[in-house]
Symmetry: C3
Subunit: 376 residues, 3 copies
């Protein structure tokens, strides 16, 4: 079976790692890895329940993420593929094929992070803070399997829209089955009203010469045994029991804004999530938001190093809108030093958590984390 | 430990993916990946029991296979190695070293798919239908660990034989132990009576100018806790309880034919499997067969695209030869479109299953599947 | 996000596998794999309890290790990284970043084999016998996560010292948490008193022209739920119950020697391990040692092939120093044939185990193993 079908190829290195490509441009393969080292005290995870405030503290040093990334194209420059593997956990995260022949109509097949929220879709290696906000756990769709159509419709000036429309199995990462006949449907419309698209990357690391902004609206509906999704696949929010097939019908909406200009960056998300438990016929409405802003102060104080950014975030989560007293908050402040942009950066962060509950005492926790994220 | 032992190397691309090779031909490494996307309704798996006909249907979209393949040679062109990893499941499938110095006497060490049946040994990326037949589950030896001697004895004309002789641990994929002192022994003799060897690949995609044919006889004996093997390792057929060490003695025979000529392809397998349950001293004889044929109709109707193949399969399984009424059947029809041979192809398939049992009503199911298989 | 940041790169092959490097020397990536095939009778594992002597024997053939190794540097030649993956088990073994700018002060972040003992730190692909000694199970720290500072202080002649100082989470491989506030602390001081450093590699395969020797002292303290560590992470020695957080306080000391000259090699380790069970307030002292020597007899008998080495090992383990009668011993003899040094070698080994216990009959077992270890 030795076939004589060899084509000459070349090797180079770019921000995507080492790149192998054939001379005829038909085939290309990139390989890169990323490690994220983290020190945290008194512990690393965001508190989820009131118990998490009184638990034994356990400072730790860990390799929080270790990723292998393989991407490229085959047969045609527009027939792309991408694999991402979490080495430490042994989880295959992304495996997908993209048909990107026309900018206004592209297709994606496989498993990937649904483009529902900007915060989740941005790679954990391109974040502005050490990690995502308090509300990511409750509102993310995380990774799903299926098919999506997407593209950018760019007219003159403000007539610049991006869109995503997806049909997904709706049972989370690594699912090899569907629980019922119902699929997950997802859509997102993004208005790039200054005529430029902001990349999915935290902060304005490139120090944009011209302003870029977006307003996006996203919605999703799904019926499954789960009330939340994470890298581990489908799971349950606090207070929800493991579901049977098709037990939870969930509708979610999200309003997002983002803005980048001369080193300043802004991003916000405002969420609503409606859970119908078909077992008990109970309806619950969850709400949450975050706002986040960052700046490279070198822009106004030239004595501060160019590669240093300061950023802060405020987020709030309401587990049940009908109970006003139940509320969780996070205020965080971070400093980034970008040795080589997001590819090699150090982040220090301090966060104050506050939990309020109608039946319990208010709880607070202050957490400090230091993180080094490096890509090869 | 920095050693100055560097040799210049080159890079190219072939049907095996990107290829790195030293100038002196001593070292070579190929890397490739493959994704298989599948849509199925009402469900994907072959029915195994009567319950599978009445279960809740669950149409689905999934990445059915995601493979990373690394092969090459080291120190000598004839000292070869091959790894194949199922990324989605996190299973190492193949890891083996081959000594292929002489065509008539080669050796293989490690773990791989035993060459017992043509259907199982052909890569899931080079199949003619969407997947293997109804009888594969019951008769395959799947992957085993051990050592095999094999080769091709080619005299003039009809005097062309291929053979395989193996000594295997006989406890399936990923086994790190043997249950007893007994090993699995396997042999296969294949007569290539037209003097040409048919490659292990589905259909006559290369449109053979000259006819090629084979008749093969294969046999295996094993004693283990298992009555069947799959990618998950050892397991049990329907109706067999989990076994203790050395509980099941199994002997299997298989008669196989295959023929390729001008776009037409034929393949058949006829199986017998004798299970002795040493716990109960019961003997059972299982039987099954399939016949499969395909054709590129462009050969007679030039208006039909060259890259389109039609194929069909008939298979039957008898779980106990002593009970005539117990019988399972599959009739399948498929259309393949080969964008780039087996490396990038689309398959649509319709299958009719029929199950008969002496005590139960006859059951039918019609399944439709569409599959895209692409290698990078 | 297509960035035009490509740098030309080249490819070569070395003892570290295929090597990709940019022309400016800033980036380099090496990729290699290793397979270890083993036949063992009557079984493979070292006996751990008296039961292991009377168990059903089960000879076996297996792929004992299958490793993927990816290393290199990024941004600077001194900013190095290394990943090692056990493919068969799906375990990420090593993932670490090294800052090696100065020979006398280097830093390592991530997860790796603690440099506590020479025997464990030497790669399983560079061993002198088929595998490590009887006492490795009880005394190794295996892999841990954390940070270490290390280096070589080389004055003239005998003033040559290597050192390692580490702060580790102390909960073993793949741990993503710390059980308590206490970390593991480790130190090792190594005196290279002949002014040359012996590499961490078994035997004197390079046939040293000049003698090299070392004396090393190492110590470690840890508080965790575990009494031993292995590739599976934290676990328990025979006779110790699963622990709660911080239950076992463990202190260990080790005295090591090694010597290489003209094909002769010597290595020894002498261990003490103090276990305080905070649940029961019991103290136990464990002790053990091994001595191992090898020689390439071609040095004195030129008729013997140059690539052949003979080696032997004696080791003894005392599970509780206060009970003199409890003692386990191993005497092993091995022959190595180095086709291409440690990168491709065949080893045959015979071992005699003896277990003594104050309440039980003395037990013996003779084991034979043959192993082929090959790197690509």
């Amino acid at each position: 079976q030795e076939k004589i079908d060899s084509t000459q190829a070349t090797i180079s290195h770019s921000s995507k790692g080492f790149v192998f490509a054939t001379g005829d441009k038909k085939f290309e393969l990139q390989i890169a890895a990323r490690l994220q080292f983290r020190f945290a005290t008194p512990d690393d995870q965001n508190p989820v329940t009131f118990n998490d405030f009184t638990n034994l503290n356990s400072r730790l040093f860990k390799i929080n993420r270790s990723r292998l990334k393989i991407g490229g194209h085959a047969y045609h420059p527009w027939l792309k593929y991408y694999f991402e593997y979490e080495l430490g956990q042994g989880n295959l995260l992304d495996f997908r094929v993209m048909i990107e022949k026309w900018p206004w109509l592209k297709f994606k097949f496989g498993q990937w992070k649904v483009e529902f929220t900007r915060e989740r879709f941005i790679s954990s290696g391109e974040q502005q803070m050490v990690d995502r906000s308090l509300i990511n756990r409750e509102f993310t769709l995380d990774r799903q399997q299926g098919i999506t159509a997407y593209g950018n419709l760019a007219g003159r000036g403000a007539a610049n829209f991006s869109y995503w429309l997806a049909m997904l199995t709706g049972t989370g990462r690594a699912a090899t089955f569907n629980d019922d006949n119902k699929l997950m449907y997802f859509g997102r419309l993004q208005w790039n009203f200054l005529g430029r698209v902001i990349p999915f990357s935290g902060g304005d690391v490139g120090i944009s010469e011209k302003p870029a902004a977006l307003i996006a609206l996203a919605a999703v509906t799904n019926t499954s045994p789960y009330t939340r999704f994470s890298q581990s696949g489908g799971g349950q929010l606090v207070g929800y029991e493991p579901g049977s097939n098709g037990q939870y019908k969930i509708d979610q909406y999200q309003l997002e804004t983002a803005f980048n200009y001369k080193g300043f960056s802004w991003v916000s998300e405002l969420h609503r999530k409606y859970i119908l438990n078909k077992g008990t016929n109970e309806n619950t409405t969850l709400a949450g938001y975050y706002v986040q802003a960052g700046y490279f102060p070198h822009g106004i104080i030239s004595g501060i190093p160019e590669k240093l950014e300061i950023a802060m975030r405020l987020s709030e989560y309401r587990p049940d809108l009908s109970i006003k007293a139940n509320k969780q908050q996070e205020v965080a402040f971070a400093v980034n030093y970008f040795f080589q942009g997001h590819k090699n950066k150090l982040t220090a962060e301090i966060t104050e958590f506050t939990f309020e509950d109608k039946d319990l005492l208010r709880q607070d926790e202050t957490r400090i984390r230091v993180q080094w994220d490096i890509s090869f």
